[in-house]
Point group: C2
Chain length 267, copies 2
């Protein structure tokens, strides 16, 4: 597998990054996961806008123009022969001496990796409500796609241990926030609802597209409302998946619902 | 500067780690910051015990015996000619394909870097109460020294912007948790108090030594109690520092207090 690193293409398995990189030592970085279909990166403008918002909020300089990034995406797609698959962009604050404080002069590290894989949009998913951790809605990082993602890793590991595809994270108030790797939508009494960003939901690129395409109410959702849902689904950049079971209990009839099926046109 | 990486010594500035390392992509790692005095690593047993507890909680295999780690510490101290300074151990879940889920077979990455520096124990510190973020006491990561540390980075950056040395983080209930790079102690009515781990305080190695040496009450502390403190101090592996000012207001007389001064014997 080939990857882009700071302007050049390298072997992704080869040593590329210094052990002093703050992305490695402090999770001091941002990332984007971008779908590739028919050999082209999807929703590039939305991903780059979110990346720039995260860079602004964290003070990590991007140091690359949009055109450079678009060319890097194309180069990684070509080098790895990707027709359908995923790009992963990682931006870190780069190498620096030890310590939490960002250095005065930042030399950011920019990585784009990519691989071919079948995208799972439309495929049924089962979830559990995570017990291991909760999402910190009091942190700006709940609204930024940062590489300090170990809470999400722990939730994903819990999902696997419990035989599920993903884990729904509660926020610190005990409301539904999102899943470890996706945003969460419920259909209750015919109305589609999703937690607002202020409740700890990441401002997902596919989430925004769903909200732009159908009527969605952004509101706080309690775990008890899961039992009232006739339908549920998960969205991320890679697709929209019907959520047919939560904590072992079927959602609605335990089958993909009409809202989720209708949305496959935009996934 | 030389660093230890997976059994060999390398130039710390050279490329050493793959761009697919989960430490880099997901903050999926642990770390320890260890003081060096008179050319010897300090409190090694306590650091290794905390590292192993974090490895257990996150499922990251350490893959090295204590003796290997102790030898790596000595090699890094020697290679960098450190008399007084700091070692930084970083353990990550290693390279893996994209995605939150830990791979079935983990090849962890183990790094020990080190540098000479004067340790700051005893030197006066000024702090602010962080506005940018709060510590997630609902996450097991509040009790683990993980590399998903961007909340602490943001708080440290805020401290610098506001002219302070460190930033005190509130927990999600609004109580005092700890500082970005240290544990917090207050002396109120002659009694020493510090937030318990359940309030979001990292179980600091120096914090444990302080509790073992003097009477300390572990209890929830509200920000309002700062005004009642006759003395405050910060502890981390690198020392014990008098906290003489918080949010621009002097603590006690704005000078190091007797408890802090007495503790320098163990720092």
């Amino acid at each position: 597998m080939k990857a882009y690193l700071d302007g050049r293409m390298i072997d992704a398995d080869a040593a590329g990054v210094a052990v002093t990189d703050r992305g490695l030592t402090l999770g001091d970085g941002l990332y984007e996961t971008i779908a590739v279909r028919s050999g082209a990166a999807r929703r590039v403008d939305a991903h780059l806008a979110r990346l720039r918002a995260g860079a602004e909020a964290t003070g990590i300089p991007l140091g690359a123009a949009d055109g450079d990034l678009v060319r890097a995406f194309a180069d990684v797609i070509t080098a790895n022969g990707i027709d359908e698959g995923v790009l992963r962009l990682t931006l870190t604050r780069g190498p620096a001496p030890r310590g939490l404080r960002p250095p005065e002069t930042v030399r950011p590290t920019l990585i784009v990796a990519g691989s071919a894989q079948a995208l799972a949009s439309g495929r049924e998913a089962r979830a559990v409500v995570a017990l291991v951790t909760r999402r910190n809605d009091h942190s700006p990082l709940s609204r930024i796609k940062s590489t300090s993602a170990l809470d999400n890793v722990l939730a994903a590991a819990e999902a696997r241990e419990r035989g599920a595809d993903d884990a729904i994270l509660l926020n610190t108030a005990g409301n539904l926030a999102e899943a470890a790797s996706a945003n969460l939508f419920l259909v209750i009494d015919g109305a589609v609802a999703t937690p607002p960003v202020t409740e700890g939901a990441l401002p997902g690129v596919m989430r925004a597209d769903v909200i732009a395409n159908i009527d969605v109410t952004e509101r706080a959702l309690s775990p008890a409302e899961i039992a009232q849902a006739s339908e549920a689904f998960l969205t991320n950049s890679l697709g929209i998946r019907p959520l047919v079971e939560i904590d072992g209990v079927p959602v609605g009839g335990g089958r993909p619902g009409p809202v989720t099926q209708g949305l496959q046109a935009i996934a």
